[in-house]
Symmetry: C2
Subunit: 197 residues, 2 copies
């Protein structure tokens, strides 16, 4: 019923996460009202992702050069490394901008059930950085899940005996959330991490 | 902080309706995991919209040919025309597929406050079709709003004296909606359109 070019763009949008048939149709039709220059930039932006995106040779962040902008930044605190699962997670910490330190992207979490072992995530390169750069603390900022816990425990173990502090961000009740909606495990972590006021 | 190609695609996604900063970021990062062929098709689909989309010379529907697939379809009932605001609205009626008739896309609604007069929407071509094709009924399927009502009243007026039935789809309570959430005007229309059971 739709012209082919509309069918194609609907299919393309449907490949994106969280975009179903109806939203894909709405987005596709919105493009019809874009001016031609905007459509050209949109299309170019996608081919740029295809042709230019690389992973930083140091931290695994996405970049369009060999080293990412954070690893290239001379004004960062080298002593602390945030260890995150995905490149996107970096932006969350950059937005709150408290530590101005370095990052390391694992690119995944250890998950034996899915056949993802320690060798499949960027842990070796993390250890190398810790050894070479006199890192004082790594802050594990991973999802509190079975995979996240496994990965944190593994990293803790392989760093055992090295002179580096290994911390993890707190698990607890998110701001503004009613306790009745919180699962038992989170509640346990939150209790365990209670603070004097 | 992001590489330029990611910044560009985030901006492109943000131009789409209903896509804010956070969703745009999520969509942009999802593209990184697409394989190159998929990115090529995505980009090509957008340039195809740019280069191929035209408006059907008869009904105003979008098409990649001179006449849209519906106007080209010989098995349609010529006697009834659904009058819709946007090309996208056609798909809603095609999905329920009751009438198998023709369509006419106004491309907008009359809105004196926004400077949109009858000459800015495709009403002339509608009248021409009614005159030439012996149309028996037009079903006005427009949004029940000030602009929709104005447009419906205008069309009714210009067709006065012609041998064509002018109907409008019912305004009322949508299925599954609690009456307490319905505005007074809709309720009035629903009362007015009440039926014996």
């Amino acid at each position: 019923m739709y012209p082919n070019c509309i069918k194609d763009i609907i299919e393309a949008f449907k490949d994106l996460p969280g975009i179903g048939e109806k939203t894909a149709e709405r987005l596709a039709f919105s493009l019809i009202n874009f001016d031609k220059d905007k459509l050209t930039s949109f299309s170019d932006a996608i081919t740029a992702v295809r042709d230019k995106i690389k992973y930083c040779t140091i931290c695994g962040n996405i970049t369009d050069e060999d080293k990412c902008s954070i690893c290239n930044d001379k004004n960062r605190n080298d002593k602390i490394i945030f260890v995150v699962e995905k490149a996107k997670d970096i932006s969350l910490f950059e937005k709150i901008n408290v530590f101005n330190c370095r990052y390391h992207v694992l690119g995944g979490l250890i998950s034996p059930l899915d056949g993802i072992g320690p060798e499949d995530v960027n842990i070796d390169s993390l250890i190398k950085r810790i050894d070479n750069d006199n890192v004082e603390e790594i802050i594990l900022s991973l999802k509190p899940s079975i995979e996240g816990e496994t990965t944190m425990q593994y990293i803790k173990k392989v760093l055992d005996g090295k002179n580096v502090r290994v911390t993890r961000i707190a698990t607890g009740i998110p701001m503004g959330t009613d306790i009745e909606y919180i699962d038992a495990m989170t509640l346990e972590f939150a209790l365990d991490g209670r603070k004097d006021i």
